[in-house]
C-alpha cells in the first residue's frame, strides 16, 4: 500500500443548493478521510470553487478524484498535489490569561513569524491577545504547537486551506 499523505484537490462545482452536501456526503459515505474543505464563489456567480484536503493513499486518492469527476454537479477536478500552487489558511488564535511578560512574548512570536503582515496581533484585551495568521497549513501547525507550549489557555479557530494554481513558480 502506498503511504498515506495529505493531498489537495481544487473543485469547480455548480453553485447550487445541495452541491456541498453531495460532495461532503461522498467523503462520509465512502469513508474517505476529509481534512479540510473550503468553498467560495468564483468570478462566475453560478460556479463555486472548493479546496479540499484529504489524507489518503495513492489508490484511494485516484478513486476520490474519479468519484468526484463522475458527479454531474462537478465541473472540473484539479489535483493540486503535484503542481505549483499558492496556498494559505487563515488561523485565529486567542491566548488568555497573560501577564505583562506573557504579552511581550506573544508580540515577539508574532514578529518572528511575520512575513509582510502574514502574522499579526490584531486585537488585545487586559490579559488577552488575538493572533491572526495567514500562512500555509504546516506553518500554522507550527505556530499552534508553539503557542500551546508557551501558554496555558489557547483557543484556536482555523479556516481550512485555500489554494490556487501558481502563475510562474512553485510556492506552497
Amino acid at each position: 500500500m502506498d503511504k498515506m499523505k495529505n493531498r489537495w484537490i481544487a473543485l469547480y462545482v455548480e453553485n447550487q443548493v445541495g452541491v456541498l452536501a453531495k460532495v461532503s456526503g461522498l467523503f462520509s459515505a465512502k469513508s474517505y478521510n476529509l481534512q479540510t474543505l473550503t468553498v467560495g464563489i468564483t468570478e462566475r456567480e453560478d460556479v463555486s470553487r472548493m479546496t479540499i484536503s484529504v489524507m489518503a493513499d495513492d489508490v484511494t486518492f485516484e478513486q476520490i478524484k474519479k468519484q468526484l469527476n463522475a458527479m454531474v454537479e462537478v465541473i472540473k477536478v484539479i489535483d493540486l498535489t503535484t503542481i505549483p500552487i499558492h496556498m494559505k489558511e487563515i488561523l485565529y488564535a486567542t491566548v488568555h490569561g497573560l501577564d505583562t511578560e506573557g504579552k511581550t512574548e506573544a508580540f515577539q512570536i508574532a514578529e518572528v513569524f511575520d512575513r509582510g503582515g502574514s502574522v499579526k496581533i490584531c486585537d488585545i484585551g487586559s490579559d488577552t491577545v488575538l493572533f491572526e495568521c495567514t500562512l500555509t497549513e504546516n506553518k500554522n501547525n507550527e505556530i499552534i504547537s508553539l503557542l500551546k507550549t508557551r501558554f496555558k489557555n489557547v483557543q484556536i479557530v482555523r479556516g481550512g486551506a485555500v489554494a490556487v494554481e501558481a502563475i510562474s513558480r512553485s510556492n506552497r
Binding site: V13, G18, K22, V72, K76
Partner: protein, 563 residues
C-alpha cells in the same frame, strides 16, 4: 411568443416529447394537479401500483425489458420515502428511471409541513442526479436534464422533486431538445492505443477468458461479444447481471462465475492467464477474496465508468469505454486463436463437477422446475426475486434467445421480483414474463396482485415455496450449527403459511399447486395458456435443498463448497 402554460401541462408535454407511453404512479396530496392533467391526456398508460416501492421496481422491470427510461410519479413525504429502496436498487444495477416526487409548496419547504421530507437529500447517494425544481422557468430544463442523465453513460435513477405551487404556475411552454451539462460528459469514445494493448495481451494468452457483466447488455453489445469470442475462440463466463448476454447454447459459454457460480467457471477464472473483463465492476460476490482473485492472470478491464476501474481489482490494462464501442473495434482485430487445450480443460472441469442438483427428499426439486420453465417458456423474460431461487435460476435457467434475466444484483432487494415482472410484462407484452420467486420475497410486495388483476397483466408466478428464508437458512445450516433462528416462515404445526392459493382466490387469480415433479410441465403449460391474466404456481420445495457450489463470503473462488 407562444402562450404560457402551467407546470402541470409542461410535465405532460415533457413526457410526450420523451416518448413516454407508460408511467407507474400512485396519487397523493402534492401531485393532485399533475394527476388531473394525466386524466386529460391521451397516449400515456398510467399503471396504478399498490405501493410506491413496488412502483420503482415495476419501472425497473419495464426499463430492463424495453431498454427505455422508465418513469415513476409519487407524492411527497411517505410516497417519496417509500421509493428509496427501489431507487437504491436501480442505482446499483444501473437502470434508467426518472422518479418524480411531489413536494410541499416552496414557501412551506423547511417548515416540517404535512408530508414534507427532504427527499433529494435522502437520496443523494443513490441517485445520479436529484433536483428540487425551485422556479417554474427552470422546470423544462431540469426534466430534460433528468432524462439525459438517467439514460446516458452508466445509466441510473434521477429524482425530480416538484413543489405543488410550481405545478400550477404558468411559464414558458418550451421543452428543450437537449441541454448542455458542463459537468457531465459520458464517455463516447475509446482509446485505441489502450484497446490494441488489451487485444495484444489477449492474443498472446495461452488460457484467455472473457468475463462479461451487465454493461454488455446495457450497451446492447451481445452480438458483438458473441462474434468476438467466436472469432477468437475464447471461452466466456458471466456475472449474474451479465447472464444472458451470451447465448447459453454457445460451446464457448461456461456459465456464471462467483459465489454460486459453476465449478468450471470459477476454476477458469482462477487458472486463466489473461482475464478480459468487460462491463463488470468486480463486485465481491464475483471475486471472492480479492487477494486470490484470478491469481495467475493479467487483467484487462473495459468499463464505461472510469471510477469502476482499478477500484476493487487492480488491473493491468484499463480501457474506459462503452462495451459496444470497444467490442465493435475488437471484432475488427479478432483473429483465430488456438485455445483447444484450454477449452478442453474447462470441459474436463465441467464433467468433474457438473452443475446439477440431487433430487429432493420431499417436494419438487428446484432444478426440475427450472428445466420445466426452459421447456415451456424458452422465449420468456425471466424475472427473479432474491434468495436461493434466484441463484438456482441463475444456474439452471437457459437463455438462448436474447431474453432478459431481470434480477436484483447489486442491492439484493427482496420484494423486487414480483413488481419487476409486472413492469417487464407491461413493457414487453409480446414476451411471456416468468417470475421465479420465493415465499419470503414474494410476501414483501404481493399487494401488487391487485395491480396485475386490474391491469390484466399475464405474469406467470413460479413460487418456490419452502416456507423458509432459504438463503439465510442455508448459511445457518452450513456455518451456524443449524440454529434456525427467525428463518422459518411457516405457522409451526399448521405447516405452510399462508395458503397462497386461497390468497390468490381472493384476487380472482388462477392458482395451481404442484407437489410432485411429474406435474411441473403440465402446470407451466396451463399457466402459459392463461394469457389474459396472471397465474400463480405454488411449488412445494424442500427447505433442505441447497444452492451449490458455494464460495463462502470473503474466501477465494477456488474454495468451493460442492456438497
Amino acid at each position: 411568443m407562444a402562450l404560457n402554460i402551467t407546470g402541470r401541462k409542461l410535465f405532460v408535454k415533457a413526457l410526450k416529447e420523451e416518448g413516454v407511453d407508460t408511467i407507474f404512479a400512485y396519487p397523493g396530496g402534492m401531485i393532485t394537479d399533475i394527476i388531473d392533467e394525466l386524466y386529460k391526456t391521451e397516449g400515456i398508460r398510467v399503471i396504478l401500483g399498490r405501493h410506491e416501492q413496488a412502483l420503482v421496481h415495476e419501472a425497473e422491470g419495464y426499463a430492463r425489458a424495453t431498454g427505455k427510461t422508465a418513469v415513476v410519479l409519487v407524492t411527497s413525504g411517505p410516497g417519496a420515502t417509500n421509493t428509496i429502496t427501489g431507487i437504491a436498487d436501480a442505482y446499483y444495477d444501473s437502470i434508467p428511471v426518472v422518479i418524480f416526487t411531489g413536494q410541499v409548496p416552496l414557501h412551506l419547504i423547511g417548515n416540517d409541513a404535512f408530508q414534507e421530507v427532504d427527499i433529494v437529500g435522502m437520496t443523494r447517494s443513490i441517485t445520479k442526479l436529484g433536483v428540487t425544481v425551485r422556479n417554474r422557468e427552470e422546470m423544462g430544463r431540469v426534466i430534460k436534464m433528468g432524462f439525459q442523465v438517467a439514460s446516458t453513460g452508466k445509466p441510473g435513477p434521477v429524482l425530480i422533486d416538484i413543489p405543488k405551487d410550481i405545478q400550477v404556475t404558468p411559464g414558458s411552454p418550451d421543452y428543450p431538445d437537449h441541454v448542455d451539462i458542463r459537468g457531465y460528459h459520458p464517455n463516447e469514445t475509446v482509446h485505441i492505443g489502450q484497446l490494441k494493448k488489451a487485444y495484444r495481451l489477449l492474443k498472446n494468452a495461452k488460457r484467455p477468458l472473457i468475463l462479461a457483466g451487465g454493461g454488455v447488455r446495457i450497451s446492447g453489445a451481445q452480438a458483438e461479444l458473441l462474434e468476438f469470442a467466436t472469432k477468437m475462440n475464447i471461452p466466456v463466463t458471466t456475472t449474474v447481471m451479465g447472464k444472458g448476454v451470451m447465448p447459453e447454447d454457445s460451446p464457448l459459454y461456461i456459465g456464471n462465475c462467483g459465489m454460486h457460480g459453476r465449478f468450471a467457471a470459477n476454476k477458469a477464472v482462477t487458472e486463466c492467464d489473461v482475464l478480459f473483463s468487460i462491463g463488470t465492476r468486480f463486485n465481491d460476490r464475483i471475486t471472492g477474496d480479492l487477494e486470490k482473485f484470478a491469481p495467475k492472470a493479467q487483467i484487462v478491464h473495459v468499463d464505461i465508468a472510469s471510477a469502476s476501474i482499478s477500484r476493487n481489482v487492480v488491473v493491468d490494462v484499463p480501457v474506459t469505454a462503452d462495451a459496444k464501442i470497444a467490442l465493435e473495434r475488437l471484432v475488427e482485430y479478432a483473429e483465430k486463436m488456438n485455445t483447444e487445450k484450454w477449452v478442453a480443460k474447462i470441459a474436463e472441469w465441467e464433467s468433474e463437477h457438473p452443475l446439477t442438483m440431487p433430487h429432493s427428499k420431499i417436494g419438487v426439486c428446484p432444478q426440475v422446475i427450472c428445466d420445466g420453465i426452459n421447456q415451456v417458456f424458452p422465449d420468456a423474460n425471466i424475472i427473479t426475486d432474491v434468495g436461493q431461487h434466484q441463484m438456482w435460476a441463475s444456474q439452471f435457467i437457459k437463455l438462448n434467445k436474447g431474453q432478459e434475466f431481470i434480477t436484483s444484483g447489486g442491492l439484493g432487494t427482496m420484494g423486487f421480483g414480483f413488481p419487476a415482472a409486472v413492469g417487464a410484462a407491461v413493457g414487453a407484452p409480446d414476451k411471456p414474463a416468468v417470475l421465479i420467486t420465493g415465499d419470503g420475497g414474494f410476501q414483501m410486495n404481493m399487494q401488487e396482485m391487485a395491480t396485475v388483476m386490474t391491469e390484466k397483466i399475464p405474469v406467470v408466478i413460479c413460487l418456490f415455496n419452502n416456507s423458509n428464508l432459504g438463503m439465510v437458512r442455508q448459511m445457518q445450516q452450513l456455518f451456524y450449527g443449524k440454529r434456525y433462528e427467525i428463518t422459518d416462515l411457516s405457522a409451526g404445526e399448521r405447516g405452510y403459511f399462508p395458503d397462497f392459493l386461497k390468497w390468490a382466490e381472493a384476487y380472482n387469480v388462477k392458482g395451481i399447486r404442484v407437489t410432485n415433479e411429474s406435474e411441473v410441465v403440465a402446470a407451466l403449460k396451463e399457466a402459459r395458456a392463461n394469457e389474459d391474466g396472471p397465474t400463480i404456481i405454488d411449488f412445494a420445495v424442500s427447505p433442505d435443498d441447497l444452492v451449490l457450489p458455494m464460495v463462502k463470503s470473503g474466501t477465494p473462488l477456488s474454495d468451493m463448497i460442492l456438497k
